[in-house]
């Protein structure tokens, strides 16, 4: 008979203190819920609740409402049986935006929660002794992106307070390539440094949500590192007007205005350029599209060269954006069958102008949960950046 279409799993969201004490469940209350999982970016959850409901507006023992900005966690559980849990933890974060508005009789509160990576944009980089960078910046030499990131997070935890990120081997901390040298300037935040490490093309990171109430100190995500996150998912196939027919909507956009096939990056304030790198084949087809950029905050030539190589790989053919909305329950299940970083097959007939039969790398999975509890992916975003895995 083959596989049945999957039954859209239920979601449950809970508000807890930052000591992991459950305050309230948002079951049968929250609406317009979304969870967005993006490669190398914070995981985001949004929702909406009636402001006058005692499940959210009663003051907790700290005097603040059950749903309160900044000093709570929101956990999202999905009933998919992953790793043996009936309800798998699929989101863990801090509500950082709580916006209430009233029209006549009704008041509605919209909230947005981010995983702890978002908070790292407000944490300064420090060395292992907790010292802030001087005007020379904080330099790491001949270390992997994984080790640099762990060092930054551990220093932040020690000197600036909980990060809620588990940097031990609980998660997958795969080794990554050595970065010859990278400098984080004075004023750089851990979040910015994190993004710079990923921009070198040597490391991808994943923060996996966890619900672990018995381990101290409190951690709500595991850090996982990869040379490149994701695998090829041969069993996942999305098709529009071709067998499978499991795609409701598809956008295929090619934009050459951002093409770059000759790249020259400068490092440091008024600094020299790293060697120009070219994609000869792209230049032969399209002509030369020259990009010159300056990185005054990055004084390490090696780091800038890595960034240039990654940028060339991504931009040499122009920007291709593929956005797909799979049919709920007909397509494979997000977060189980495919994750950000994975390569999956996307096909479309020539009725889409340009027939597609390619593999695309998943960049972002925006999951919407409607008020009937049906989960759908609305606008699965792919990146066409170069694939170096198997």
């Amino acid at each position: 008979m083959g596989d049945r279409f999957y039954d859209s799993p239920d979601w449950r969201f809970a508000i807890t203190t930052q000591e992991l004490e459950t305050i309230t469940l948002l079951d049968r209350l929250a609406s317009n819920r979304t969870v967005t999982v993006t490669l190398n970016a914070p995981r985001i959850h949004e929702g909406q609740v009636p402001s006058d409901n005692p499940k959210v507006n009663i003051p907790w023992t700290d005097g603040y409402a059950y749903l309160s900005e900044g000093d709570r966690f929101i956990f999202g559980f999905r009933r998919d049986g992953y790793l043996g849990d009936t309800w798998s933890c699929r989101f863990a974060g801090i509500p950082m935006l709580v916006a209430t508005s009233a029209q006549q009789d009704n008041a509605v509160t919209r909230y947005v929660a981010y995983d702890p990576r978002q908070m790292m944009f407000k944490r300064p980089v420090r060395d292992a002794a907790g010292v802030l960078p001087t005007s020379d910046g904080l330099t790491f030499t001949a270390q992997t992106g994984r080790d640099i990131l762990i060092a930054l997070l551990d220093a932040s935890e020690t000197y600036d307070g909980p990060t809620f990120i588990d940097t031990t081997s609980s998660g997958e901390l795969n080794d990554t390539d050595v970065i010859p040298e990278i400098v984080f300037q004075q004023g750089c935040t851990v979040g910015e440094a994190w993004a710079e490490l990923e921009a070198t093309g040597t490391i991808d990171t994943v923060l996996t949500p966890i619900w672990d109430v018995f381990t101290a100190p409190v951690k709500i995500v595991w850090l996982e590192t990869y040379p490149q996150a994701g695998i090829v998912r041969d069993s996942v196939h999305m098709a529009w007007d071709k067998p499978g027919r499991n795609v409701i909507a598809i956008d295929n956009q090619r934009d050459g205005s951002g093409r770059e096939n000759a790249i020259r990056y400068h490092y440091g304030q008024g600094g020299d350029a790293a060697a120009t790198i070219d994609d000869v084949a792209s230049q032969a087809r399209f002509g030369t599209y020259f990009a010159e950029k300056f990185f005054p905050g990055q004084t390490a030539q090696a780091a800038v060269e890595l960034m240039a190589e990654k940028a060339l790989l991504a931009a040499t053919l122009g920007k291709r954006t593929v956005v797909v909305s799979p049919s709920p329950q007909r397509a494979k299940q997000p977060l189980i069958d495919y994750l950000p970083g994975d390569r999956i097959a996307v096909a479309a007939s020539a009725n889409l102008l340009e027939a597609m039969d390619t593999t695309q790398r998943v960049l972002s999975i925006p999951i919407q949960i409607d008020d009937n509890g049906t989960e759908s992916v609305n606008g699965l975003l792919f990146t066409d950046e170069g694939w170096v895995g198997s």
């Binding site: 000591e19 459950t22 305050i23 009936t86 309800w87 529009w240 007007d241 009937n372 049906t374």
Partner: protein
């Protein structure tokens, strides 16, 4: 739901009790009284499901289905005698009383609102926890009868037998029989003392688990009990007094489901003193 409109009904509101189709002990009508306009009355629930179309092919994709809360669209008339609709001072008096009850249902914060009736051959049933929905202005029909049209809403998607039964399953496996037609969401009382418990619905394969070592979880002592409302998904510690405090912190979020009792036999296993408060429920 409701298929007979000529028997007695009782509307309970924060304002008091309102008899409709009032009868004496021998089943004779007692006037003046309120009567339904049966052809204008209906009670039911709506179905909800997400439906999308198969892209570029025939067919539809259907999501899970749910039922909304019960909605009763009702029309009531005051009558002075069996032949004479209420008029004059009596009309004013009866309409004032009726609308007083309806307004009280609009403002009911205690959840006392209820409508009960007894179908022929069955036990008394109720629509529970009702609140006033849309209400019309009173109308004059045929120049003689006054009608009041209004809607009553309930959060529950079923009507219930008024009689509540307590089914005890104490550290054992037992069966709870449900003769109604609805998936009923019970209240479960778990009596202390305990540190942990597990209550499983063996047929549905779901469980509720509690552990007082979870952060913030209250200790349930010998004179306490934990009350679990499976419809509202809340858990409350009830200590002598009664003193109420939140118990949701002790529920395992990654394994627990607030489960229903379905029509037929429900095999339940507990490792605690669990008491299920059950009303037969009807769709």
């Amino acid at each position: 739901m409701i298929y007979e409109w000529d028997g007695p009904f009782l509307l309970t509101t924060p304002f008091g009790f309102l008899d409709i189709n009032e009868e004496d002990g021998s089943g004779n009508p007692v006037f003046p009284r309120y009567q339904w306009a049966p052809v204008s009355c209906s009670v039911g629930w709506q179905s909800r499901l997400t439906r999308s179309e198969v892209p570029a092919a025939d067919g539809s994709i259907l999501g899970k289905g749910f039922a909304s809360g019960v909605e009763a669209q009702l029309v009531l008339e005051p009558w002075e005698t069996a032949e004479q609709p209420a008029c004059g001072a009596l009309l004013t008096e009866m309409m004032d009383e009726l609308r007083g009850h309806l307004f009280a249902l609009l403002k009911d914060t205690q959840g006392v609102g209820r409508m009960t009736w007894t179908p022929t051959g069955y036990n008394t049933r109720m629509i529970d926890d009702i609140q006033l929905g849309p209400i019309d202005n009173p109308k004059i029909i045929d120049n003689v009868r006054t009608q009041q049209e209004f809607t009553l809403d309930s959060p529950f998607p079923y009507t219930m037998q008024e009689l509540q039964q307590e089914e005890i399953i104490n550290n054992t496996t037992g069966a709870i029989g449900m003769s109604g037609t609805a998936w009923f969401m019970p209240v479960i009382k778990v009596y202390g003392p305990f540190s942990t418990f597990s209550i499983s619905h063996d047929d549905l394969g779901v469980v509720i688990e509690y552990d007082d070592s979870l952060p913030g979880a209250p200790t349930i002592g010998a004179n306490d009990y934990l009350e679990i409302d499976t419809f509202r998904n809340v858990a409350t510690k009830v200590a002598p007094g009664p003193v109420l405090s939140d118990g949701i912190a002790g529920i395992y979020l990654n394994s627990s489901d607030f489960f229903p009792l379905v029509p037929g036999l429900n095999n339940i296993t507990t490792d605690c003193d669990a008491r299920f408060l059950v009303n037969q429920a009807y769709m």
